[in-house]
Symmetry: C2
Subunit: 424 residues, 2 copies
Amino acid sequence: MKLEDLILVSVDDHIIEPPDLFANHIPTKWLDRAPKLVYNPKSKVQAWSWEGGASFAPFLNAVVTLPKEEWGFDPSTLHEIRPAAYDVDLRVRDMDANGILSSMCFPSFPGFSGYFFARAEDKDLAYACLQAYNDWHIDEWCGRHPGRFIPLALPAIWDPELAAQEARRVARKGVTAIAFSEDPPAMGSPSIHSGEWDPFFAACADEGLTVAIHIGSAFSGDNPPFYGKDAPVDVNVTMPCWNSLSCAAHLLTSKVLLKFPDLRIALSEGGTSWIPGFLDRMERHYENQKWTGWDLGKLTPTELFRQHFLACFICDPSGLLLRDRIGIDNIACEVDYPHSDCTWPESPEEIWRHFELAQCSDAEIAKISHENALKWLRFDPFQSIPREQATVGALRDIAKDVDLRTRSKAEYQSDYEQQHGAIA
Amino acid sequence: MKLEDLILVSVDDHIIEPPDLFANHIPTKWLDRAPKLVYNPKSKVQAWSWEGGASFAPFLNAVVTLPKEEWGFDPSTLHEIRPAAYDVDLRVRDMDANGILSSMCFPSFPGFSGYFFARAEDKDLAYACLQAYNDWHIDEWCGRHPGRFIPLALPAIWDPELAAQEARRVARKGVTAIAFSEDPPAMGSPSIHSGEWDPFFAACADEGLTVAIHIGSAFSGDNPPFYGKDAPVDVNVTMPCWNSLSCAAHLLTSKVLLKFPDLRIALSEGGTSWIPGFLDRMERHYENQKWTGWDLGKLTPTELFRQHFLACFICDPSGLLLRDRIGIDNIACEVDYPHSDCTWPESPEEIWRHFELAQCSDAEIAKISHENALKWLRFDPFQSIPREQATVGALRDIAKDVDLRTRSKAEYQSDYEQQHGAIA
């Protein structure tokens, strides 16, 4: 196989939401009260605001093509960032330029499991806005370019029964993935051990929805990552990468997977390199510590893990080296566009280098690059796009004029103002 | 090389403290106020008690040779456990039976970084007891069998200046390792970033003391491991295994290692399998996120890690497979006697199996089995014990009569009462 023949599906990218997202999807009675992207001329910052408060991170780390010296936690306005972050037609062009066939996109201002919507006191309003968000995501963001986006719904994270209801609703619209929190108690919700989430997990298992748990999905303005008041920012930026480990430990040792043997979980941006040691540890613990009462019947912890978890990585050469200890059917790849960790526009080159380092076979490459993602997420892009048009080489061929250059925030803002007038 | 020719040094075992430990080492004026191992006839539990309160876990998980159905967090009295847990002469016999040349032993009732002593209001008393503990450990536990025990001192964890003073004192007695906490703020102490611990780190670097940071070294009765009120005990038992990851992230991104280039740190019971992915991540972060200001000069994060950290594992086949991505000079092995995770009496067989799985060369086996440990901990057992008497085969030859059988708590207690009379 050659790099040009790769078919790449990214199971983790991010939408930066455009200002008009609620306009076409929320019942008129709620429209005035829906979140709005508001510019504060004093602080020169935009934020999504409503009666539930302001968003924590509307443009979370959307720094793709900004010069590295302008990176940081967050740009301040939508106009300082690459328009493909929020414009789906441009996004598809950027996917073409990077050879990406299909992408699953997580939200930004709502938080990775929709916590923003939980913060309105009026829960009818909250649910109306959540539904509007999901409908916009499904019908507009994903609907405009068939085969290119794997729809990912948000749950009603404040209410397990309502989350189940929304899961069943979006499933009827053809959605096959729904987000969830890596740590519900950190958001003031019941834990996965409480049994209270069972209606939601039941709905996901019944309806064939993969539960996508992104690192940082328990973070919000109320619950920022915290590793000590004087810890370097490097600790705060790197440590959440291992949140999936603790999340997987909770799920694996819980009753949830035994109650719902069809439940599928994607550990989004969780990486893979920790998994071989995690499984070694869980096997040894299960074998040794019978007194705890953990009983998987005929399964081993590794078998249970492989039945339920899709491990997802942006860049994880050590994980690829030990792919046989993870499960060759349990690994998918990510781009993380437009965040600072994204590999755009050279995702194919980077993953190819790691495939070569790990001496992956063509069959293994096919599984990791797209087959596992499509199987776990029950998504078939080839209904819309013939295979020969789906490769890195074919997609890049139609995107030769995409501008890949680094541009400063000021340049993006100037472009925007020329097109749309001054920001207000 | 054959299994019998291995030389094995364990850099992590545990002492269960005998009742008379303070008797010979504390000034007479403090003797009455020193901690005492007290039996409560009502609860039938022994605990170390003094004016600072009672110990959290005096026999922490000391279950070696107990039948698995009697395992659990803790036996209740010293008499329910294998005497080699607290009797150093018997301990050496158990080391012989397991082919272990030398062992570094962490404390039990004081906590792995000596937090127990911090809890007395009278800090003169606290320091007197800490010194007595260290002197007992150095002179009695380690002193009776030259070459068999690598002395490990405890710091005055409540006071960085005093911790530095104690480090310099024990260094003069020939000690080359001192414990420290994986998370000082969790114990109410300043963080490593505050600069307040610099006098302690300076003393360790100057005096050639390796700082041994054991997983769980921030836990105590006041600060138990906590992963949610309804989490399975399996989560609480397994998750602390990755505490070293966060501890290493803090140290690696701190100013500490740059200020003290000679400082050596052992990540005790931290395992190794997370390290390749951790280093991949830190390299990528360092390369990408220049805005954070993390500046290692001419070093890379991996080079800095390899200069400062000894990674220590009990059982970690995935780590051995990627030893070249960790650093072949940075890995040492552990037995964890007498805890439930210990591999006694088959440590040589287990590690040999993993050496074979990873196809380690003889030179790599020599480094991991003992050379790295002895170099990092500056310990030379061969001054006392000739090499030909130091191998697994030679040690096991002199321990053929050691009783390896499983025995119940009741049997141990009955043996004890026959020898010493009823417990009081």
